[in-house]
């Protein structure tokens, strides 16, 4: 056997040291920096040892996608170009990933929808591509405003789906995302979502790892399926392609592969718990009222809880970090004492509330709301009002038609 040499401790061409990811993310000193979410994406990718990034302009991810281009010009990324549409870009990402590259891309709203055919293909082909989704409206008439409806469409693609609340989440999760995605027993794409504008275009203090440390490079030969680079024997995989056969073996092959994709999502659970320190974060879940939310709705919920506390109403909070794998046990446990579960969301259908209703016993406890959509903000007051109304408490009147 040839001696296997670790790259840890060696330098890349930019002089960054390939660092043990756990040490880099948990032990290395952090520098507080005041950045927009888009700039934070750039800083995470600077440290991610990406081989290929493919960009396409769509608000609100255009700035981040262009900033990654600057990283390419500086020599931090192997290749970078602008594709012709999101459908093409996601296929180009697939091609690069099939060829053994660590791949990064970003999209939003209508772009996510345009590219949708690619996502189950990515998962089925076991391509650990990371895609940032800066959610925005997908409705007609045209909207560029924040709205998380597109996440609902990603939940059944076989991709891992995480929902970041803050720019700090973003920074850490982009790097951690590659570690989880590329585990041989996972090897699936990750949709790392955030609420467009609220996270991408606002400035926040983010604690960054040192610039001279980066993730070890992707090793495509740890993949559970062969890398398409003609560096391993081209085995004839089957006598007849299964697409043509209407027989039991064909059905069973497709069925077992679909099951394997979802088993891989399931196997990502232990890695995700390890790296994200749990699929959910919880506060005061012994309270009668618990708010369960993801993305920036968590921040609004937290503020509402503070306001309610001033009025003597005690509320707990569950921040859902991973949507796939779905934290079923964690949400059941965190809401077991709750008489009322509120699910504030930035979309019209309330997909998170539906998931939670399907998860917890006595689902009549789940109040799907408040909802805002189409780019409306969610002032904590409307969460407070929804909770107080449910509890039969007197509440201020919100903006309306007047009387």
């Amino acid at each position: 056997m040839a001696e296997i040499k670790s790259v840890i401790g060696t330098q890349n061409k930019k002089g960054q040291v390939y660092t043990d990811p756990w040490k880099m993310l948990h032990e290395a000193p952090r520098t507080p920096s005041f950045f927009t979410g888009s700039e934070v994406i750039k800083e995470a990718i600077r440290r991610a040892s990406c081989d290929v990034m493919i960009a396409y302009p769509i608000t609100p991810q255009s700035e981040a996608a262009a900033l990654i281009g600057e990283l390419f010009a500086e020599g931090y990324i192997g290749d970078y170009f602008r594709g012709e549409s999101e459908f093409a870009v996601m296929s180009q990402c697939a091609g690069a990933s099939f060829g053994g590259a660590r791949v990064f891309t970003t999209t939003a709203g209508p772009g996510t929808m345009r590219a949708m055919e690619n996502f189950p293909m990515w998962a089925g082909a076991r391509l650990p591509i990371q895609m940032i989704v800066t959610c925005r409206g997908i409705n007609s008439p045209l909207s560029i405003q924040p709205d998380t409806l597109e996440i609902a469409y990603l939940l059944n693609t076989g991709m891992l789906v995480w929902h970041a609340e803050t720019a700090q989440d973003f920074f850490d999760w982009i790097l951690k995302g590659y570690i989880v995605s590329e585990e041989p027993d996972v090897h699936l794409p990750l949709a790392l979502c955030c609420d467009g504008f609220f996270v991408t275009h606002t400035k926040d203090v983010v604690n960054l790892t040192p610039t001279d440390m980066c993730l070890p490079p992707y090793d495509p030969y740890r993949s559970p399926v062969p890398c398409m680079d003609m560096e391993c024997p081209p085995v004839r995989m089957m006598r007849d392609p299964f697409v043509m056969k209407s027989n039991y073996i064909s059905y069973a092959t497709h069925a077992s592969w679909q099951q394997e994709i979802w088993a891989a999502v399931e196997r990502s659970r232990k890695h995700t718990i390890h790296w994200l320190n749990g699929l959910v974060d919880t506060e005061n879940t012994d309270a009668d009222i618990v708010i369960v939310a993801s993305g920036t709705a968590v921040s609004q919920g937290r503020e509402a809880i503070r306001m309610l506390e001033d009025e003597g109403v005690r509320c707990g909070l569950v921040k859902v970090k991973a949507l796939r794998p779905w934290p079923e046990e964690e949400i059941r446990e965190a809401t077991k004492n709750a008489k009322h579960i509120f699910v504030p969301e930035f979309n019209v259908t309330g997909w998170l509330a539906k998931e939670i209703r399907a998860t917890v016993p006595n689902s009549q406890r789940v109040h799907a709301g408040p909802h805002v959509c189409g780019g409306m903000t969610m002032p904590p007051e409307i969460i407070v009002s929804e909770i107080k109304t449910t509890l039969g408490m007197k509440t201020f009147s919100l903006a309306g038609r007047g009387s």
């Binding site: 012709e84 690069a96 791949v103 680079d229 081209p234 007849d240 392609p241």
Partner: protein, 303 residues
């Protein structure tokens, strides 16, 4: 990948599939002047296929795989259609992902391979039908050419959607009555070879696959030019005998009839100036190599 990489451990030899044993024993990987004449004498890179008996596409597949200059470092990209029924039986890495996105896949793939293997040859060859190339995937076909992506695009033009049962396609002839063209196709066959030239392809050929030696020549040229200079495009007539009402043995004649001087598949070629220069250099090198080999053979005979 060198041929050493595919050797089988002695202890496992007898349990390996015979296809694979054959590949190791008698594939033309690494053979410099491999070509269509190896068909039937060496291990072919395509096994059985599930295409119709006598399908010209199956002939084209064999000629192309025998003619790739560097199969041991070639990755092919296919698309949905009749070609996707053959690729699982091809002994080079190949990707099928979606319908029509083949040139996008190839763009990402070629760039990844260039990043990962700097200074090494890794050829990428796209092979898809006319529906994939000209209709659903036209955007990505053209954009890859605009960007000067360095891979070869081969279109198997059978002038209709064969795999779904003979529907109208953009490369179908005007007036042809087909499914979804119930009163005959109302517009002309799309002139993709001309569009390819205008879109930046450095080598464009429009022909049939009736002559294996011609297919060998254009494949080698297309792959070499794509490797060194930029995009190349081959449009090969592989008639769907089933859908145009021909018998199994009539495919070859159909191609011969369609390549006569005034016909739509009369041999047409475009070579850009830099590509001409490259072909001349390659021809000179080839001549030199053959002369040296001849000299060696003569010396050996003299000794």
């Amino acid at each position: 990948m060198s041929k050493e990489r595919i050797q089988i451990s002695e202890a496992l030899y007898d349990i390996m599939p015979s296809d694979y044993q054959d590949l190791v024993k008698s594939a033309t990987y690494g053979k410099e002047d491999r070509g269509w004449k190896d068909i039937g004498t060496s291990k072919e890179l395509i096994e059985q296929h599930s295409l119709c008996a006598g399908c010209p596409e199956s002939m084209a597949f064999r000629y192309i795989l025998a003619s790739l200059p560097n199969p041991e470092d070639t990755v092919m990209v296919g698309s949905t259609g009749c070609t996707s029924l053959v690729f699982p039986m091809v002994a080079v890495h190949n990707i099928h992902s979606l319908f029509g996105n083949q040139n996008a896949i190839a763009s990402g793939l070629k760039r990844a391979l260039s990043v990962r293997f700097p200074g090494r040859v890794k050829d990428v060859v796209v092979l898809a039908g006319d529906g994939a190339t000209v209709d659903i995937g036209l955007d990505m076909t053209l954009q890859a050419w605009f960007r000067q992506e360095k891979f070869t695009t081969i279109c198997f033009d059978n002038e209709l959607y064969a795999n779904t049962g003979g529907q109208e396609s953009g490369l179908m002839q005007k007036g042809f009555v087909a499914k979804m063209a119930p009163v005959g196709k109302l517009f002309d066959k799309v002139r993709l070879p001309e569009i390819a030239r205008e879109s930046g392809c450095h080598y464009v050929v429009n022909c049939t696959v009736s002559k294996p030696s011609l297919v060998e020549k254009v494949i080698r040229n297309a792959v070499h030019i794509a490797r060194e200079i930029g995009p190349t495009y081959l449009q090969l007539y592989t008639p769907c005998i089933l859908e145009i009402g021909k018998n199994s043995m009539e495919g070859l004649q159909e191609m011969r009839d369609s390549e006569k001087p005034a016909e739509r598949f009369a041999y047409k070629e475009y070579v850009s100036e830099p590509a001409k220069q490259l072909l001349a250099e390659l021809a000179a090198k080839d001549k030199e190599r053959k002369a040296a080999a001849k000299q060696l053979a003569a010396q050996a005979q003299a000794n």
